[in-house]
């Protein structure tokens, strides 16, 4: 298996030299193509910070980060934006659907950003709506959906562009067990179908058990080596 992501001694500090707070310290691990990796840890352990760095939303203070063998740790804002648009899918804790967009528009949006032709967008979105059982909700706004449906739309939005890496932050946090289970099953199915690597931060044992591998963070440090 090819290495999709490699973190090499990544650290993240906030604030000035004297009063700096270390959020992550010396984090190194790899994620292979198609792998489902869970990041486990209590609140404040640095899971979200790590996901932000892996998702190119934030820059590390030290260390290097490779995506498909290319160093991406210190890219410009514009370059990070391009990587996020093209290669990374996000599943947010609170789904973060765009309130003014319908289900169809929310899912189609990443394709639009990548300049996919309208005909292709229509085909891909319709197919995914069918797969996810959301066809009847295509014209609905996010506020008209249930929590589970919102999560499914969020997953669909993350996967529609067939990203190489999917970052999922507490994907089951706002869901009951039944919906969380269904959501996870869906991610696994799409993981098999699209071959994306998943990096999932969670303290839900059910989610962690369903991952291929797990790493544990405690006070910004990696507790168990991968």
């Amino acid at each position: 298996m090819n290495t999709r992501l490699k973190l090499d001694a990544i650290s993240k500090r906030y604030g000035g030299d004297k009063n700096s707070i270390t959020a992550l310290q010396d984090i190194s691990f790899t994620l292979t193509e198609g792998e489902f990796l869970a990041i486990q840890g209590p609140s404040g352990s640095g899971k979200s910070t790590l996901l932000n760095i892996c998702g190119l939303i934030d820059n590390p203070s030290d260390g290097d980060y490779y995506l498909n063998g290319i160093s991406v740790a210190q890219l410009s804002i514009s370059e990070r934006c391009t990587y996020r648009r093209r290669d990374i899918g996000f599943i947010f804790q609170r789904h973060q659907l765009i309130p003014a967009m319908t289900v169809y528009e929310n899912i189609a949006y990443p394709l639009l950003l990548n300049g996919v032709q309208p005909k292709q967008i229509k085909h891909d979105v319709n197919q995914l709506l069918n797969t996810m059982g959301l066809e009847h909700r295509r014209k609905h706004l996010p506020k008209q959906l249930s929590g589970g449906e919102r999560q499914r739309v969020g997953v669909a939005r993350a996967l529609i562009k067939r990203p190489q890496l999917v970052i999922a932050d507490e994907p089951s946090a706002s869901l009951d067990h039944q919906h969380a289970h269904a959501g996870l099953q869906l991610m696994r199915e799409l993981n098999k179908q699209y071959g994306a690597s998943f990096l999932i931060a969670s303290h839900d044992a059910f989610v962690i058990d369903h991952c291929d591998r797990k790493i544990e963070l405690l006070d910004g440090q990696l507790k168990a080596s991968p």
Binding site: I57, D58, R84, F90, Q96, A100, Y109, L112, L141, R157
Partner: protein, 402 residues
């Protein structure tokens, strides 16, 4: 992806604040348009007064009278009949009116007053002045050759003298050769302009009577009235080339009051417009800034998905444009309704300084002005939203989503 529809949905999400912004812009625009309509109507009235009083083109002889130089009396324009005939042949010319100005003393019994008189073509003179020179107590026929020559007095001058229509009065003046002249005249009627300076001191008589009194065929000015005011400059240039020893002016060169009022109103309404633009700018900036604050999670999500800042800018500017277009449409309709209501109500303005009478308020509805002003306002809205949306790209994705 229908961005327009998405912008509409975003606007409707925050309907209360958007409505207040929309009303601020609409009311501001309506105030500007109504003010502008009043200003245009005033300019038009003043232009009309200036043209009707002086003519579209005026021929004068600037050389001072050798004896009476510097006074109101200026009878230096000779051989004007040839010019008048030449002008009658021009199809652009509607009327050519000679005017002889003179001054002196008018008496009735033991009451006397200084006057400034004009020898005119009576019927044509009152015709060209139209509603700006009103008459009362007219004898019929008036100002036409009679055994006793007729005059008309300014209303207040007649009151000063205690004269009524039909009374005999004595005019005394000084001729250009320095000799005195006296003539008994009959008061044929009164006129009033609403300007005390004119109504207190002026009189009119026929040019024939003035010629007899002054013993001169010269006049002070030849006023030319045209079918189209737009021909004024062409006629002025033509006459200036053809006639020697005289000055030819357009009505604009002599419309001092019009230029003064226009300058004043331009400043007043300019400042008012600027204030309204600032209010609109601040209202829109505030609305967009609050929208950005409320929607920072959404902005962060869009950024996280890889949306370029320019797309985020565009979304907010599109929303501002829609608010601007809706507000200016409401503002134009509001201004249209207010203007029509005021025009129908026939409201009167109080008398301005130097006048004894008010005048009816009339508000012009000028669609080109409506659209230009609305366009300026929409541009202001777009600029305000553009400046405010700069903050949108400063939203930290990490902080907004945490």
């Amino acid at each position: 992806m229908n961005w327009l529809l998405i912008a509409m949905r975003n606007i409707l999400r925050d309907a209360t604040r958007v409505t207040s912004t929309l009303l601020i812009i609409a009311v501001g625009l309506a105030a500007l348009l109504v003010g502008n309509g009043f200003m245009l109507s005033t300019y038009d009235s003043l232009q009309e007064i200036a043209m009707r009083t002086e003519g579209h083109v005026i021929i004068i002889d600037d050389n001072p009278d050798p004896v009476l130089g510097g006074s109101h009396q200026q009878l230096t324009l000779s051989n004007w009949q040839a010019t008048q005939e030449m002008l009658w042949a021009d199809e652009r010319v509607l009327r050519v009116l000679p005017r002889a100005r003179f001054e002196g003393m008018i008496s009735k019994g033991n009451k006397s007053a200084v006057f400034f008189g004009s020898g005119v073509d009576p019927k044509e003179e009152f015709r060209v002045h139209g509603p700006f020179l009103r008459t009362s107590g007219l004898l019929d026929p008036w100002l036409t050759p009679q055994d006793t020559p007729d005059i008309m007095l300014g209303k207040q001058l007649a009151q000063t003298l205690g004269a009524v229509t039909g009374d005999l009065l004595t005019l005394q003046t000084k001729r250009s050769d320095g000799t005195s002249s006296e003539l008994v005249v009959r008061l044929a009627g009164l006129y009033y302009t609403g300007t005390p300076e004119i109504d207190n001191h002026t009189l009119m008589t026929s040019l024939t009577t003035a010629t007899t009194l002054l013993d001169s065929n010269n006049i002070s000015q030849l006023s030319i009235y045209l079918n189209q005011r737009e021909d004024s400059i062409a006629i002025q240039q033509l006459l200036q080339e053809q006639l020697e020893g005289v000055t030819v002016q357009t009505w604009q060169q002599r419309a001092e009051l019009y230029h003064k009022v226009r300058s004043l109103y331009d400043r007043i309404f300019g400042i008012m417009g600027l204030i309204i633009l600032i209010v609109v700018f601040l209202a829109v900036s505030n609305t967009i800034a609050l929208a950005i604050y409320q929607r920072r999670e959404e902005i962060a999500t869009l950024s996280a998905l890889g949306t370029k800042p320019v797309r985020i800018y565009t979304n907010f500017i599109l929303e501002a444009c829609l608010i601007g277009i809706a507000a200016t449409t409401i503002g134009m309709l509001l201004a249209y309704a207010i203007s029509n209501a005021v025009n129908l109500a026939e409201l009167m303005m109080p008398a301005p300084p130097g006048k004894t009478e008010g005048y009816p308020i009339f508000i012009y509805i000028s669609w080109p002005h409506y659209f230009i002003t609305s366009a300026v306002l929409i541009i202001t809205v777009v600029v305000a939203s553009f400046i405010a949306t700069r903050n949108a790209t400063r939203v930290s994705i990490v902080k907004a989503l945490s």
